[in-house]
Point group: D2
Chain length 333, copies 4
Amino acid sequence: MNQLKVGVVGLGRIGQVHLENLVYRIPMAKVIAASTPSDTGYAFAQNLGVKELYKDSLNVINHPDVEAIILCSPTDTHLPFIKAATKAGKHIFCEKPLELTVKKIEQIRQMVAQSGVKLQVGFNRRFDPNFAAVQQQVSKGKIGEPHILKITSRDPAPPPIKFIKVSGGLFMDMTIHDFDMARFIVGSEVIEVFAKAAVRVDEAIGEAGDIDTAVITLKFANGCLAVIDNSRKAVYGYDQRLEIFGSKGMSKIGNSYADTQQFYDKKGSHRGLPFNFFMDRYTESYCNEMRAFIASVKNNKPILGTVDDALMATKIAIAANESVKKNKPIRIR
Amino acid sequence: MNQLKVGVVGLGRIGQVHLENLVYRIPMAKVIAASTPSDTGYAFAQNLGVKELYKDSLNVINHPDVEAIILCSPTDTHLPFIKAATKAGKHIFCEKPLELTVKKIEQIRQMVAQSGVKLQVGFNRRFDPNFAAVQQQVSKGKIGEPHILKITSRDPAPPPIKFIKVSGGLFMDMTIHDFDMARFIVGSEVIEVFAKAAVRVDEAIGEAGDIDTAVITLKFANGCLAVIDNSRKAVYGYDQRLEIFGSKGMSKIGNSYADTQQFYDKKGSHRGLPFNFFMDRYTESYCNEMRAFIASVKNNKPILGTVDDALMATKIAIAANESVKKNKPIRIR
Amino acid sequence: MNQLKVGVVGLGRIGQVHLENLVYRIPMAKVIAASTPSDTGYAFAQNLGVKELYKDSLNVINHPDVEAIILCSPTDTHLPFIKAATKAGKHIFCEKPLELTVKKIEQIRQMVAQSGVKLQVGFNRRFDPNFAAVQQQVSKGKIGEPHILKITSRDPAPPPIKFIKVSGGLFMDMTIHDFDMARFIVGSEVIEVFAKAAVRVDEAIGEAGDIDTAVITLKFANGCLAVIDNSRKAVYGYDQRLEIFGSKGMSKIGNSYADTQQFYDKKGSHRGLPFNFFMDRYTESYCNEMRAFIASVKNNKPILGTVDDALMATKIAIAANESVKKNKPIRIR
Amino acid sequence: MNQLKVGVVGLGRIGQVHLENLVYRIPMAKVIAASTPSDTGYAFAQNLGVKELYKDSLNVINHPDVEAIILCSPTDTHLPFIKAATKAGKHIFCEKPLELTVKKIEQIRQMVAQSGVKLQVGFNRRFDPNFAAVQQQVSKGKIGEPHILKITSRDPAPPPIKFIKVSGGLFMDMTIHDFDMARFIVGSEVIEVFAKAAVRVDEAIGEAGDIDTAVITLKFANGCLAVIDNSRKAVYGYDQRLEIFGSKGMSKIGNSYADTQQFYDKKGSHRGLPFNFFMDRYTESYCNEMRAFIASVKNNKPILGTVDDALMATKIAIAANESVKKNKPIRIR
């Protein structure tokens, strides 16, 4: 087998997930090198048998044997590392968010276009079997013309206030996945956003300048309406549901569980909590997206989750923030 | 509208159900008279506007205006009252159990045959929309050849020991409904029974000579196998489920609930108890069976739930008792 | 039993439902008289044994024996008939919509207040066991502080264009139920509305000046956000769902079905359509609301579904229309 | 990490599953060598980086570095290979069926006891998260005293007649899993078996001397009753369900699906097929059982799925066959 030689940059939580998938579950790829400033990340990679380990990420990016870079370093390093990688002619898988401003994403778009490399952004949920099944139904015309899309996306608990402060805010950090999903499912562009938001979960989130509860209405170019509702804290666990309603029917997915066990006692019937958070709920999607990236590069096929997708999701998030501030619907340009 | 004139004999719990349905929900019938030894039953009927009320049931059975009798008096009165009714040429709806022995049921069969009246036995579950939907699927050939039938039938709590002693036993009192249902759904005759039984719920039931837990295997003439499981006490409520599996598919029903509400908290998701017992779970079936009886008489159409059906269910119950005693399968003659 | 003597005004589809419930299922009430211009309505009442039947509704309203009026005549008769009834000191159950303008509803409010009679508006869904179960959970504090309410309300098919033209529009005719439900469940007042709407089902609806698809965001005084989505046509049947999410949990209801039957074949598992439309889906609620009205009058207890409730729902509907026109959120005064 | 050094004997379908799990998903183990007569198996192992590959299995069993053997070769090789392995002092994971006769399993039991090695039989379903969740509930006393266990176990399609002929029959090949599961869940020994069986799926199965449809009743030492129903062909896919009912409640599992997608159209709502067959449905269980074996050996902890478990399941299967032949319940000695 002619394996694609990859280098992993950044071995935090998500970097470790990608590294383990690459080593154990994706025979088409071979990890040549990895970089991380952290001792934990270093030890993790060593244990998995990665032979070349660096502190300086440029050693990985410019490594002569490396054909593709898996970029899992902090968001503020994305632009410079992508710059280096495109210069070196390396394909790039970059974790989300690609970048936080339209300007920087457009710079990245230009670099990628000029260099001719492929860049896939880590919109992993597109590769979740549940969402993918719905997208299939829609694209096959099973629901007819899409009229109303509904996405519920609620976290089990808010991140630390420290993170909230640098996260870019709810829309940029959390809803961005839902904005991308909405575009993926509806298959059309968002042309207008109206967002209502509130601080209901924790006042400290408000004091940090963010919101924790939101209901967002989207209008699409094809006439479809959508509504996303978010909360930073669902006590009953990670709540990730979607339904799309159209002229010929509806396709709908619910939450996923570790088992199907139901318990019946004198109070009624009971089921446990769904998968705890994204690392459990979307396990398969992380492996699937990496497999897809490797396959796209090896077979020179189009990418699912492009710079343009990141750009659109970012524009929607920015418009949602503006909508909350001005309390009016905002057009997406 | 040309209403069928009926008389109700016996106004205990089930007699009151039938009377109320006849008065309020079945315009095709008119209640002319009723009889009951009880003051409560008397007052109940008076409140519903029944004009002729008697202590002596023969006054109802032989009432010149009465065309059909609704027999809800104790089991040991069934035979004599049916005798009187057939003599008087009155159609009969008789609550289950029709009678407890094969011999007496055969006597009834003869009386009914000779007199030419219609007799419907109160196998109400045949008229439950859930079971009826399954029967429709099977009779239309949707599941193909039936291979395996499964019935779960568990009560929320055992009846008083006093009742247990005169009930005829679990198979005759409780499983009889399931035996009838099995024949109704499979559309073939039971040719062999094997029953395992135990006392698990309450030792007093064992001391009264009865059992409270059972698993019964049936073999049908058409080759279908069936299994019924019974318990006198399901702490999570009245449990009434059925599934039939065949060469082309499976049809299945679950329990019914007063509402669809589900509650989610930090322990998981929760649903309340199903309908409490037969009066709630099978409410509709009681009205449907009475409507069907009235319609069969008025339009001279075949009865659903005949003396023969009662006879077969009784034979199976007797064989099940024998099987437990002898610990071997028993053929039905 | 000391029955409440009622008169039914109007015997169209919903008038017949109320009359049948009053005659057959509500022993606390006695129907003294009814009025209708239609021969069908007349015959229907005669069959149910109503003795006094009139063409002129004032004969019922002013009937000396009648204590309460059940008003099921066309919307444009509501104001004059309520005027007559309050003058005659009769209690009133009035079908929705009470009236179409704020001004007229305020007139009604004044009449009712001055006369001291009770007036219940037919917000029947408040009496549906499913919605009622959720409201109970919320009012008991089971979900904690309410954060997000979601209502899906989709009809199986649009009404005739002729009706659309006089209906007052989607928000006044259809969403009005959802606006009332939202207030009922959240237990707080709506302070702002934003509505996006479209014509997706039938262009003729647009030509008639109405919309058929909508997503409406509400903000409540207590900080709760809500979203309602509507369509005039769900091919998979009448779709009526609700969920409310709060700081301690979520309560949720789904659609209701005539039976629990599921069918499994080589393509997968299948369930039939839910109850077809409001007459089937909300059958119980119509009886429950009438029972509640009769009980409130007899026992001099507060009404559920007051003139104020109608007023608030109407104001929200008007604001929703304004929001669509101006494409901005509208405050409710 | 101090890895356990293992050798894999046999690289057919299940051998490949175990090898891949060991190489990719179980860091605690290291595959030193493998043996297979087949070219496909050989290539598969080579691709996974297994360095020592043999045709002769004794080279693996007696390999000086190998501490534990994963036995995936044909059933008739189990006894001799276990003999060799116990002599060499190697721990053994052996695929089911361990052996087909009581006598041979007892021989194995003796060898294992005398040598002091650990032997785990591949009852993988005990490691399925669904069944395991039920077993946890039962062993914690959540359902109280177990009264009735129900297992539905139906294959999507029968194996080739050629295989049927050498399979040992339905009970030994297919129901053996259910017999083991019944013992695992109930936590007591089966003392009596009654089996009804039929040929309903394919006459050729009958001609091969086997059955394809069965309902089996078990009685346990602790008084629990159980019923297992089997079919070689469920057109709606691999059907694996279980419920256990006791004095305090019920625990129940259903089928597993690749996604949660439901589709709604004018005919109703639809869900696709469950996981196709054991390789998909029980994927996780294969990895879990191997992880458990490795951990038991490394930490010198008790095995789940012992020779005794295999012996008991085999005795029940033999008794079930006898019960069908004699049409009577058979005691287990």
